[in-house]
Amino acid sequence: MLTEQKLQSFKNIIHESSRDEIIWMSGYLAGISEKNAVAAPPAFTENIISTEKLTISVLYGTETGNSKKIASKLASVLKGKQHKVTLKALDQYNADNLKKESLVFIVMSTHGDGEPPAAAKRFYDHLYKKSHDFSNLKYAVLALGDSSYPLFCKAGEDVDLKFKEFGAIQVLPIEKSDLDIYAVSDAWINNVVNNLPTVANALLPKPQPKHATKNGKRFYKGVVKTHINLNDRGSLKETWHIEIGTDEAIYYLPGDALGIVPPNADEDVLEIISLLSANKNQTIDYKNETITLFDLFKTKLNILYMPLRIVEKYAKLIQSELPSVRLDLKNILALYPFNKDVSLEDFIAILEPITPRLYSVSSSPYAHGNNEIHITVGRNKFLVNDKKKYGFCSNHFAGLNDGDEVTFYINSNERFHLPGTDKDIIMIGPGTGIAPFRSFIFHRDDEGASGRNWLFFGDQHFHTDFLYQSEMLSFFETGSLTKINTAFSRDQKEKLYVQHRMMQQSKELFNWIENGAYIYICGCKNTMAKDVEATLINVISEEAKLDKSEAENFLSMLEEEGRYAKDVY
């Protein structure tokens, strides 16, 4: 076992030692060897540590706010026990996720004639519409009601029955509470906490996200699962929340972007092919790929608002004079017809590919799983010759319907990732700039990150344009969002922006920065980001008593340390 040399030394020491010394040595060696055994972690310990926390969803269906109150209380008690807890209103909860859950507690009120609350109707219907497999799910229901109605607590009972029917396992039998809710609900919360399932049989392994592959783009095929215009009626804005589901796992981190090559409109493509007097099914070789002409114009080539360099190349190609004006390809072809002497291949060679668009991902792989990704797309509206026109790509998204296919890739954004879980973060994201921060907050909530989170959000009107408001409010109530400040520019006579709120919070803001907080800005580059940066410099200069250039240096230093990052467009 020992090398020749070691063995010799060992024998020498023994040879030179008394009997007592040898006995002492043997005990000492035994001690050392045991310690080493303890110090080296056994292979299974890590698993235990990483699964000590339960992953729990607390859901509520509320009409008057009582269910919400009780659910919030349960969530905070469970969080206090270090479990990973997600609190959600049923109207915010995608019932498809139930099959992925392991432990769910539901507080459900009954309204009117045994009806579920309006906000829980979609969830309730989902349970009744089709059969589900909840065999991995453990749950308990607290039903609220008014015993003076004949169908007392009916909605809660229905949910309990359906869960049972779909194979879920009751942690506790259903509890019903009359109008005097607090006596019952407090006891129920106690019961829940004392009867949590043991870790080993409650937790399903969670897919761990991996970094996107570095070499080249990897395209995912997904299907639109949900698309919602987040702005309310009467808003001048149109912001789409889009959820895309995939069969294969998507690997990304909060802060990353989703890249997409938006396809051209069918009618534009057909018009161009007809102007070229070509056949849409004709195949052509393009970049080592054989593809139909239709697909080529539809999915590969830019045909809108052609750059002048292409206009010039086309003029040369057809040997004619073209004015230096940017037009769509179909207009160019209509005004300056394609010359039959030119080959189609030569014509295609002067065209350029569609530029991919990037959108900050607004979901978290932890909170939403690896088979789902969300983006937040503002539909750009602008006027051209008094006609309303929409941005090409945002219009593409706004026009998508549930079930439509989307091809996308992940664009890693190394400089815009989350810091360690114990670090504080300050997020400044007005408008669609909130997208990566929704991802951040969901992610940190799911991780149970101890660092504090502060969000600055702004838009035009509070009542119509507060993107993801109900989610942010739940995070605020459970403490996952420590502070939230908002500025709505058009709700008062003077325009009010996030930077004004930051200035009002100057002292506290600098406290956070001094404490090591990471600062993130996301949103419009030309106006917001500049103003916010100027405000940050003001805050630093005012609070740290530095002159302007010193404050600028301070901020650059933060940037070098990776504590100040911008994702602006």
Binding site: T64, A119, K121, Y149, N229, S470, F476
Partner: protein, 549 residues
């Protein structure tokens, strides 16, 4: 049993301040904080949300569309022309434009967003209007017979309404500090002998009727005062106590109740008497269960004699025997009238009290123009109508032309008696208590009832139909000849058999029925009534005589 949660909130509210100031500054929500939702009522406001929009907003990940209802304190229901202009502007600028005339002679605005509350209250303050104590566990708006025919007495009664309102107003300065940014006053000035730190156990309502008019539905109030007039002089009041409409579905221990007569007091004894009733309720009312907190339960628990004795002890005034009076009419008398000073009054019919403009009639445009002329003032009635009042004879034509131009005279003249007598509370989409529709639905139900009345030749019957969206009773359905009380969406308990002047409550006839069954029942009842009623017998009296209920 422990005191109810609201009692604790009141006591710890620092004289109704709570955290209202902080709530207004919360940037992330259009709501106010939990406890403040109870306290803001004492300032005349309710936090509500648009219930029609809940599902859609939830899908958009937006919180409920919170807004506030602001109700004015208008003792006797009077607005000057200048005040009307301010109300009009506020309703256009900060609220949903409908001005709702309530069943308690005031108006309320809906849909005021949180950041518009302060500007609204400020605007009202510039014309000396406030919303203090218009809701909450305090004395509510004091109502009084509105009809101008008795305006010699009416003027005096109107002053009593104002004085009673003032007498029972909370002393706290909170309203001025929170909504109007006024300076704090000393704690001594704020000391409230009446309300202390606990206010009443529940709402407290006072009405004054001038016989033969019972437009205020006097017996449905906690304190019902009946003006006694001898030789054209007001001599005093018959005092009744313990009326209230509210009940809870399925809880048989709760019930609507008409006020019990305590007796007559001279007019100089009125304030002391009412004050003693108020403090008795404050000290004896149930503070554990709000369902049993109204004065009616206090009286039934104590016994009327013990209660009366307690009031007499506290006021040091003995009730005399009640004086004779007679109520003959409860609804409004529409159209033109002239008073003793030869001033003209026009009582306009406002269906379910909603003042707004539509294709047929433009109330807001008309009243705005009248107010601008400065040639009339405005009075509200408990039947949710409006009286364009105090018009000099030489201005009558001008006002009449405006009323004509905007369709008000036409609609007042052509509406059937059953429509003109109908009353409905707000209910959906803003009232958080509503179980069923009321003001949005009743007009279309009346369309169908009119067809039945026509079928049995009962078009001129002065039938009173009232609807409330829940059993709390804002629409006073249980004091109607035909009353509907919402139980669930589209479903109502149907009550019949109240009398036409507010002296007898109706009884439940059918439970939980939908429109088709309502109309079937009415078809049978009206057929029976038209064939068998005696001369001048009202529908309510008929169904009681025939023991149908």
């Amino acid at each position: 049993m422990a005191e109810s949660a609201i009692e604790k909130i009141k006591k710890e509210s620092n004289s109704l301040r709570g955290t209202l100031k902080e709530s207004l500054l919360d940037e992330h929500t259009g709501a106010i904080r939990e406890d403040d939702r109870a306290l803001i009522k004492f300032h005349g406001m309710y936090m509500q949300d648009d219930r029609d929009r809940r599902e859609e907003r939830a899908a958009k990940k937006l919180e409920q569309l919170y807004s506030y209802m602001i109700r004015l304190r208008l003792p006797g229901g009077f607005l000057s022309a200048q005040q009307w202009l301010a109300l009009h502007e506020v309703s256009e600028q900060y609220a949903s434009p409908v001005i709702k005339i309530t069943t308690r002679q005031t108006i309320q605005l809906h849909g005021v967003l949180k950041h518009h509350i302060k500007p609204t209250i400020k605007e009202f303050d510039t014309v000396k209007l406030d919303s203090i104590a218009a809701c909450g566990d305090v004395n509510r708006n004091v109502i009084a017979s509105a009809h101008p025919r008795f305006s010699a007495i009416h003027k005096e009664i109107f002053l009593y309404a104002e004085k009673l309102s003032k007498l029972l107003l909370p002393k706290t300065n909170a309203y001025y500090e929170i909504w109007l940014d006024k300076e704090k006053i000393s704690a001594d000035e704020e000391k409230d002998k009446l309300y202390q730190d606990r206010y009443f156990p529940r709402k407290f309502k006072i009405a004054i009727a001038i016989p033969p008019y019972n437009d205020v539905d006097v017996f449905t109030n906690d304190v019902g005062l009946i003006a006694i007039i001898e030789n054209n002089n007001l001599i005093g009041f018959n005092v009744s106590a313990g009326g209230g409409m509210g009940m809870t579905h399925g809880n048989a221990a709760t019930y609507p109740r008409l006020a019990s007569m305590l007796g007559f007091v001279n007019k100089d004894e009125l304030f002391k008497t009412v004050y003693a009733i108020a403090t008795t309720q404050r000290d004896f009312g149930n503070r554990e269960d709000r369902k049993f907190a109204r004065l009616k339960y206090t009286i039934d628990r104590m016994g009327i004699d013990v209660f009366k004795n307690e009031v007499e002890q506290r006021s040091d005034i003995q009730f005399q025997e009640e004086k004779k009076y007679d109520f003959t009419i409860r609804h409004d008398e529409y159209g033109w009238h002239q008073n003793h000073e030869r001033l003209y009054y026009y009582t306009a019919f406002v269906e379910t009290g909603r003042v707004y403009d539509n294709d047929k009639v433009q109330f807001k445009k008309a009243f705005y123009e009248i107010a601008k002329s400065g040639k009339a003032q405005f009075r509200f009635t408990c039947n949710q109508n409006i009286i364009v009042s105090d018009i000099q004879p030489e201005h009558k034509t001008e006002i009449e032309n405006i009323l004509q131009q905007y369709g008000i005279i036409q609609i007042t003249k052509t509406a059937s008696p059953v429509r003109r007598n109908a009353v409905a509370c707000v209910a959906f989409n803003t009232c958080p208590l509503a179980l069923a529709e009321a003001q949005r639905y009743l007009p279309s139900l009346i369309d169908k009832i009119e067809i039945l009345l026509d079928k049995y030749n009962l078009n001129n019957e002065d039938l009173s139909v009232r609807m409330t969206g829940c059993p709390n009773g804002c629409g006073r359905s249980v004091a109607a000849e035909i009353g509907f009380v919402g139980t669930a969406y589209g479903k109502y308990n149907m009550h019949i058999g109240g009398d036409a002047t507010g002296k007898r409550l109706n009884k439940i006839y059918k439970e939980n029925i939908e429109e088709a069954e309502i109309l079937n029942s009415l078809d049978e009842l009206l057929k029976d009534f038209s064939g068998n009623k005696s001369f001048n017998e009202s529908f309510g009296d008929y169904v009681v005589r025939k023991k149908i209920v």
